[in-house]
Amino acid sequence: MAVTFALPRPTARNGVPRALRRPVTIVALCILALLIIAAIAAPLLTPFNPVSNELADAFQLPSGKHWLGTDEFGRDLLARIIYGGRVSLVGVAEAVAVYLALGLTAGIIAGYVGGVFESIVVWIADVAFALPQIIVVLTILAIFANDSSAAMLALGLLGAPGLAVFVRGATKTVRAEPYISAARVSGLRTAQILIRHILPRIASPVIVQVALFAGTALLFQTGLDFLGLGTQPPAPSWGAMVSDGANYIGKDTWMVMPAGIVIVLAIVSFNLIGDALQDLRGDRVSASAVSVGAAIPGTGALTEQHIPGTISPERAAAPVSPSAVLSVRDLCIGTDSAPIVRNATFSLEPGECLGIVGESGCGKTMTALAIIGLLPEGVRTTSGSVLFRGTELQGASEREYGAVRGSGIAMISQEPAASLDPSFTVGDQIVEVIRRHSRLSRAAARAESLSLLAQVRLPDPAGVARRFPHQLSGGMAQRVLIAIALAGKPAVLIADEPTTALDVTVQAEILELLRSLRTEMGLAVVLVSHDWGVIADSCDSALVMYAGQVVEEAPIDAVFTRPRHPYSYALMESNPQRAAETRSILPSVPGSVPPVGQWPVGCHFAARCAFATDACREAPIALDLVADQHWTRCIHPTAVPSPALPSPTTVSEG
């Protein structure tokens, strides 16, 4: 009655995974293969009998006859190693067999079926984990004297619960995937699902565990033989050979080496294979976690960053306002392979609030980070200038930046909770910043920290100061971050999406707080947001960015009453309020931002623009002055209609 429909099978791997092709891994595999083959084919490989004494040949160094020398009875060391491998490798195989059979079975059932069985497995593992294995193995050996197999089977038994818990976890993860439920619905029997669908998926992590356990088992096996508890003389075994050699170490230093080195090589090989498989899994994880720089697809060598003609002569020549506290000119940011931001220019007067608007991936955050020199690894400023109170920051050393960060320019970011060190109290973290930027005593800094917490309108500052970050709500955390940002008495605050992670009511409170801090302290603010509503609410002027370029810059009223760039207009029309509530990014601007490295030659927005003409696609578009203080990077600025959006003042009241 089984309904048949195609089940997606685990994707087959193309050939041998890369981590397994690394030279060290191959060497490790070869060493193990060699040891195993040698142990099996021992009589074919060596003419010597490992247990027959040739006293005349005792204590020889390696020679043509005895490649690895001889021991105190004149027995050939190579022969003893080859034959000795039998005991050691069989011992490892015994332990691994029990470990794998019990651990895998129990784990996969516990993970798939769950229930009481699962609880029992977990409990047993908890106990087994803390069980001193050596003492259990010794007890076994006290009863079954010199029975190496009994000891190794016991070791496998002791290790199995650990594997079971591991397998249980892996199984649960796979079980949750849709194709497993599809398999269940299709009427496959549980056993079939376990063997055909779950087992192949968890095989590779399980092999990692087995490889590492095999290393431990070999350590145990040789250790027991070394202690004289396993293989008895004159039978050869690696552990006993080391102990033999130890007895004569004063007389013959060499004798202990071959067996010792073989043990090390074998254990290293087991671990290397385990590591390689682990890296194989790690690669996938880290591939997604690499820094922006590496993740950006390359477009060949980065040619010139500054594209001549993308800025009109007037804009480039516009004098730096002498009163500006922050002035960014012609800033270009990029990786080695692609530009991320081109020719960003803007300035900020004391107490002013400048909004930087745009969808994600337009370069807003990179611009903000570039100002205080905190670009992620692989990304750097390629040209341009950042003047803070007339001092050039572009190219500044860490030390020079240290003098500006926190005390000149402060920053708060999108995820308040992730911006605090989880190990320290709020109070400690503020005090640290205060003391970094002033000469206050610890007590005075503590008092100051409380007044800062009060200044950001946190009720019960003393109570908050004692809390740890995980004990704060999102809104409280953002207030704390603002307090920390104020601790160095900065002139400029860069707020990167400060409210995106917060509830709507909390958002409004935080924006209100920022507004009042500006008036109280004359703080200039750069507010980065994807939300026109937030910008309209707080800013004096706006800078619109699209695909790495400033596309429009104007006083806030001007841009709202008469946007001159189709992108600004499209963003406004896309109902930012709703987008903010659902936290989606502007669902109604059709199309998406071209990824870094794939920008068109002409207008970056052309592909999504309703007013695009052939002229737009031909050559780079310059940023031009179209009205007083109103700049746009569009050759059809007059085509842009006025939005049906409430004016900024009504937005702020709403």
Binding site: V127, A130, I134, V136, T139, L141, G223, G228, V264, R436
Partner: protein
């Protein structure tokens, strides 16, 4: 913190029972052995029966276990079958040796491993590969072999240190210090390597987190960020690793004590195994288990002290 400790101790009670019952059941399987050990292999059945009666081995296993448990409550673990010495006396002499080795190895691993890990986290990838290679080999060298190599170098060749033997610190402190250098080093070399590796990986992980950028944006010095913030947040996993290291070291100390001819818990247990001296072995099992429990309790408390999420809600 108290809760973590209580939880750990509650988990430990079943563990103690499991270990003691396990050793008892296993030893109960071969009731003839102690008598044979004492009388030799060609003893008459009557003599064996007599010995079994004096040792209480003629009684059912659970009665023997009960006797052992009640003895335990009174601090009595029975007598060695071999030497008739009380087990507690034998173990009391050997416990300090084993603890010295374990604690010494942990201290050296931490003092060496953490600074290396921190330093390498701030440097190039190649220093990380060096640490990886060291910990790979450190992990793979059996302690008995490493111990021999160190003895060969520092005792036999250079003559700086005694090759073996335990010196009572009460009698000769300097001699004691010299006598433990090699065994502690044998255990600590792999320990330092894995601690360095864990520290490096932990530091790199923490340094890539968001809050590190925020700390930099506040103008804090690199020194404060690395040593105060990143290190503090990496230590939790290092402590967990040290707990596992201590458990793993029980095999290590057993081997090292044998190599360096010290009468620690491990070598006592090995001798007892050879002699079928089950009361001593049972006592050693109990002590080993307690060492593990205490180690885990210390790990739990330290982790709670380092991580506010574990001690506050």
């Amino acid at each position: 913190m108290l809760r973590a400790l209580l939880r750990r101790l509650l988990l430990s009670i079943p563990l103690l029972f499991v270990v003691s019952i396990l050793t008892f059941v296993l030893t109960g399987l071969t009731p003839g052995d102690p008598a044979h050990t004492i009388l030799g292999t060609n003893a008459t059945p009557a003599a064996i029966a007599a010995i079994n009666k004096t040792l209480g081995l003629d009684k059912p296993i659970w009665v023997q276990y009960w006797h052992w448990l009640t003895g335990l409550v009174h601090g009595d673990l029975g007598k060695s079958i071999f030497s008739s010495e009380p087990v507690t006396t034998i173990l009391a002499n050997s416990l300090p040796i084993t603890l010295t080795l374990i604690i010494g190895a942990v201290i050296v691993s931490v003092l060496v491993g953490i600074p290396i890990g921190v330093a390498s986290a701030q440097r190039s990838k190649s220093s990380g590969q060096l640490i990886d290679a060291f910990s790979l080999v450190g992990y793979a060298i059996p302690p008995f072999f490493l111990g021999l190599l160190l003895t060969l170098l520092f005792a036999d060749t250079l003559g700086w240190l005694p090759p073996s033997g335990w010196v009572d610190p009460g009698e000769d402190f300097g001699g004691w210090l010299l006598s433990i250098v090699l065994p502690v080093l044998t255990l600590a070399i792999p320990g330092a390597a894995i601690v360095a590796r864990q520290t490096r990986q932990g530091m790199l992980e923490v340094l890539s987190r968001d809050f590190i950028r925020s700390l930099r944006a506040r103008g804090l010095s690199g020194r404060s960020i690395v040593y105060r913030h990143a290190l503090r947040n990496s230590l939790g996993n290092v402590v967990t690793l040290l707990g596992l290291y201590v458990v793993g070291m029980l095999l290590g100390t057993t081997l090292v004590e044998t190599v360096f001819a010290m009468q620690g818990l491990g070598s006592i247990a090995v001798v007892a195994t050879n002699q079928h001296d089950l009361p001593v072995l049972e006592g050693a099992a109990l002590y080993f288990t307690i060492v593990v429990i205490v180690a885990f309790a210390i790990v739990d408390v330290t982790r709670a002290a380092l991580n506010p999420k574990l001690r506050t809600r």
